[in-house]
């Protein structure tokens, strides 16, 4: 069981941060997500989740953020070579250490980067390296993780940039010769590493490479993502020196699409050894193809799978349609608007409790008539599936509304009527399951 004291996640609004927060909450941890003042919270309300506003540039805001926390997961960083990089990454590290000392919070997981190991460093790599030194020299109980390229459902990082190019641009610009080797790692595995380190005291004082099991060249990575999304525009390689020169020029633009650090980071190989992480805290990352399969929607629309995960991003229109389908199935009536709202709210709340494969539900959406068969089959073979849980939640909502209570409360029947009803319904359940089993299998394979 986890301690009830919260774990502070800095940079919670970021690409990795968002995922770390949701997964830790889903695992039963109490999390305090640190967002910049004024930033909109990307999180649904949850009893184990607190939001705190603080700025790495302001030590006074960090102290209350750290107070009472059992540990800190440090993800906040300036990545785009902005002027404040030094202040945010290095100064921020010093302020965070001080805040931890004041708040008596000893444990810190520092998310660093593989770039800290390259010889020719840009601002990002240099400041992150300096930050690592601040943390490890602080006397706190620090573990550093050095991830390679991280990919996930949300758009962010190198992966998100590639994905955007692949979806829209006529050609993909590759900065450098495309031979740069990385070990792309699924964001969920990074989170698992963070959680495992928090639970493994022997990781204190150490730094670990975090990567996937497959080392691939940059060109190869682009091809694999292209294959998964179904769109492979031609690649154009920009020689390293020219890329660097371009990066220096565009750095003067207010919102630079590439930075010098990007170019430097994606052209110098690092030796990534995940052996220590495997041995010392059981790190077991997904292979690249398996990971991409999770991330990229199988429909080939190039939409990331988070769009299809329940709740965080399912639209109200979609959920309202679901609600009607389930209600018609259960009680033969369309639900009133307040019940639809209640269902939508419930699905938004519920996402944190589940990590679900949705293939059969997508199929049921397309063909609502098969819902009775799929439900009957899932009851036998996939009782905890998303499909069962959605219907279960709607059943609870219908049962607790006065308009429908009559269909749930007991009524007086003769013994013959009761037995006849039981036989009829049991037969129907069995027949529906018999029809549903092959349908369910079909939906899971091809849905």
């Amino acid at each position: 069981m986890q301690s009830g004291r919260p774990i502070l996640v800095t940079g919670a609004g970021g690409f990795i941060g968002r995922d770390v927060v949701l997964r830790m909450v889903a695992r039963g941890s109490y999390v305090r997500a640190m967002l910049r003042p004024g930033a909109e919270s990307p999180f649904p309300a949850h009893e184990r989740l607190q939001i705190v506003r603080a700025d790495m540039r302001d030590g006074d805001t960090l102290v209350p953020a750290v107070r009472d926390c059992a540990a800190v997961v440090h993800l906040a960083a300036a990545k785009a070579d902005e002027k404040e990089s030094e202040d945010i990454n290095v100064g921020g590290a010093r302020r965070l250490v001080r805040a931890c000392e004041l708040a008596h919070c000893r444990r810190l997981i520092n998310i660093s980067t593989q770039s800290t190991k390259i010889a020719r460093k840009g601002i990002y790599a240099r400041t992150k390296r300096a930050a690592d030194e601040v943390f490890h020299g602080s006397g706190l109980e620090v573990t550093s993780l050095l991830p390679s390229v991280v990919y996930g459902e949300a758009k962010g990082g190198v992966f998100g940039t590639i994905l955007q190019f692949l979806q829209k641009a006529p050609i993909v610009l590759v900065l450098g010769d495309g031979k740069w080797i990385s070990a792309p790692v699924y964001v969920g595995d990074v989170c698992a590493a963070v959680i495992a380190c928090l639970e493994t005291p022997r990781t204190i004082g150490k730094a670990y490479d975090i990567g996937g099991p497959d080392a691939v060249s940059f060109d190869d990575l682009i091809d694999r993502i292209g294959a998964a999304t179904g769109r492979c525009p031609p690649k154009l390689h920009v020689p390293f020196t020219i890329a660097l020169w371009i990066a220096r020029v565009v750095a003067r633009l207010p919102k630079a699409p590439i930075t010098v650090s990007n170019v430097l980071g994606s052209n110098q190989d690092t030796r990534i050894d995940i052996g220590p992480a495997r041995r010392e805290f059981g790190f077991d990352p997904l292979g690249l193809d398996a990971g991409l399969h999770i991330v990229v929607d199988a429909n080939g629309h190039g939409q990331t799978a988070i769009e299809n995960r329940p709740a965080t991003t399912e639209s109200d229109v979609q959920l309202a349609r679901d609600c009607k389908v389930i209600s018609l199935y259960l009680i033969g009536r369309e639900p009133t608007n307040d019940l639809i709202e209640r269902y939508c709210a419930a699905m938004r709340l519920r996402v944190l409790a589940s990590d679900l494969d949705d293939a059969e539900w997508r199929w049921a959406r397309r063909y609502p008539r098969v819902l009775p068969y799929l439900d009957a089959a899932a009851a036998l073979v996939r009782p905890r599936s998303s499909l069962r849980q959605r219907i279960y939640v709607m059943t609870a909502i219908l049962e607790t509304s006065p308009a429908h209570a009559g269909q749930f409360l007991p009524r007086t029947r003769t013994i013959t009527g009761l037995i006849a009803g039981l036989i009829w319904n049991a037969t129907r359940a069995a027949v529906n399951a018999a029809i549903g089993l092959p349908l369910l299998e079909w939906a899971r394979r091809f849905g």
Binding site: D375, Y392, P410, G421
Partner: protein, 540 residues
């Protein structure tokens, strides 16, 4: 209250309020320290009406039946059991945050609520027999008097002349029994037919003795049979410790301080006990001093305080917890019966099984009718499609009964609690290991099969047996057993913790054994006895 305190009582649960009662009654100056969570927001929404009427008319019912955050709709994750409904969720609030616990295959539940775990008590009130009291370490000769005092204070209803009387301690202060529901009436009738044979086989059955009123008591009303006892307590028919606390709070020599988390105690040279803790609101430390200290923080809370205050880290102490099993059954003999809507939802009937025929090692089972919970919960447990499942459940629900079987438990070397140091005092973790032996499990299995056979004889068809995760009975005991032998980390029969001058244990931590009967009534009676013993010492 600037003069010196006579006693500090830690905790406002079943033990705390009854230990404080004799002290306050005697005019001594008493402070009760408690975290004291109480959140009645949901309960206030619940109209004082029968369950069926609420279902048909209250547009707000989803708020308290399901919870605003859907906390009443469990999606497969472990939950604390059906008795922790959303209106009662506050009973377990902050338990892990304020008191970190770690356990494998055990669910340690602890309460920081005003009234403690007994705010969600099933209200089964079962006086122990002498042999059971002695094995707990309690003086069997003294307890009957305190049972009567507590019974008059809290109000207990039940039969005074059925087959259960021979397997429980005496209790004179009984109100007439509550009305039984249709399942219970039919099962009891059936029992009358097979009674002689059943008694020969060691099965005693009767109406459950309940800490719920059938007649008014003070300003409390008799049970309204609205079948809402899992959700609300209108008229305060069912006893909860906050009822006694309200009485105590009317006295000028008693102070109740909530929002106070006690961290430890020490004894000072001038014959006083010093108690230190944190005021949770602003996290400031405060120290109080009194002539005596009564620990009633609940078995786990008291264990943490004692081990920490004595510096006994990494030192295992014994532990016991009643294992229990749910046995949902279809009462098939009752299928043709009509059912009334008005009933109470507490336990209706109790079976005592005496496998050794010497009344030494009893097994208990209680029957509940599955009514004021919802069908959707049942659906999740069945391999049926929701639509047809709903129709089947709806037809059968009035005839579903749940037998909850509870076993005795003795501390064995495999079961223990140990306090581990953390980096910070707040990180200290109470580790609980519940390693029951193969023989214990085999014996329980055998007893459960015999009980399943017996309920079949009564017209109930057992559908399955669900072994609840260890710990979910929330009956914990054994850490500092009460004994005459002078050994460290034990409790004297007077309740005083050995090695201390004026620190008393009034809760389950001092029980050396847990009979199969729920311990709550005995906890209260014993707490009253400890309160009297502290009172006499302070007066002397």
């Amino acid at each position: 209250m600037t003069e010196r305190l006579d006693a500090i009582v830690i905790g406002s649960g079943a033990s705390g309020v009854h230990a404080a009662f004799p002290l306050v009654e005697a005019g001594l100056r008493v402070v009760m320290l408690d975290v004291g969570h109480e959140d009645l927001a949901y309960e206030r929404l619940i109209p004082p009406a029968p369950f069926v009427d609420i279902r048909k008319s209250d547009g707000n019912q989803h708020r308290y039946f399901l919870g605003d955050r859907l906390e009443g709709v469990s999606i497969g994750a472990a939950d604390a059991g059906p008795q922790i409904t959303p209106p009662r969720a506050y009973v377990l609030k902050d338990s892990q945050r304020l008191a970190p616990k770690r356990a494998r295959s055990f669910e340690p539940l602890e309460s920081f609520a005003l009234g403690g775990l007994a705010r969600a008590w099933g209200a089964v009130a079962f006086p122990f027999q002498d042999v059971e009291l002695s094995r707990c370490g309690l003086p069997a000769a003294e307890l009957p008097e305190h049972y009567e005092i507590v019974a008059r204070r809290i109000g207990i209803s039940g039969q005074s002349d059925d087959d259960l009387c021979s397997v429980r301690g005496p209790l004179a202060a009984l109100q007439p029994p509550l009305r039984l529901d249709h399942n219970a009436v039919a099962i009891l009738d059936r029992y009358a037919d097979v009674r002689n044979r059943s008694l020969r086989d060691g099965f005693h059955m009767g109406q459950t003795v309940l800490a719920a009123l059938s007649e008014a008591l003070g300003n409390r009303e008799p049970n309204s049979y609205s079948d809402m006892d899992f959700w609300s307590n209108h008229g305060r028919s069912v006893y909860r410790p906050n009822i006694t606390l309200d009485e105590l709070r009317g006295r000028p020599n008693f102070i109740y301080r909530s929002g106070f988390l006690v961290s430890g105690f020490s004894e000072t040279g001038d014959k006083a006990v010093r108690v230190t803790g944190n005021i949770l609101e602003d996290n400031t430390q405060e120290t109080l001093t009194a002539r005596s200290l009564v620990l009633a923080a609940g078995s786990l809370g008291t264990t943490r305080l004692v081990l920490r205050s004595l510096g006994m880290y990494d030192h295992p102490v014994p532990f016991a917890c009643n294992p229990h099993t749910y046995m949902p059954c279809l009462h098939y003999r009752g299928l043709a019966l009509s059912h009334a809507d008005l009933c109470h939802s507490l336990a209706q009937l109790t079976i005592i099984y005496d496998p050794t025929m010497d009344r030494e090692h009893l097994v208990q089972a209680q029957m509940y009718s599955y009514r004021s919970l919802h069908l959707f919960r049942l659906l999740k447990e069945t391999p049926l499609p929701h639509r047809e499942g709903l129709r089947i459940m709806r037809a059968l629900a009035p005839h579903f009964v749940i037998w909850v079987i509870q076993h005795e438990d003795v501390p064995t070397p495999g079961k223990y609690c140990v306090l581990r140091r953390g980096r910070e005092p707040a990180d200290e973790t109470l580790e609980i290991e519940y390693g029951d032996s193969t023989e214990e499990r085999a014996r329980r299995e055998q007893h459960e099969k015999r009980i399943a056979g017996f309920v079949r004889r009564l017209g109930c068809l057992p559908l399955k047996r669900v072994h609840a995760i260890h710990g979910s009975s929330v009956h914990y005991a054994g850490q500092f057993p009460m004994t005459h032998e002078d050994q460290p980390l034990t409790t004297e029969p007077s309740g005083r913790l050995r090695g201390t001058r004026a620190v008393y244990l009034a809760d389950g931590a001092a029980f050396a054994y847990l009979p199969a009967k729920g311990p709550t009534l005995t906890l209260m009676a014993n707490a009253n006895r400890i309160g009297v013993s502290v009172r006499d010492r302070l007066r002397a």
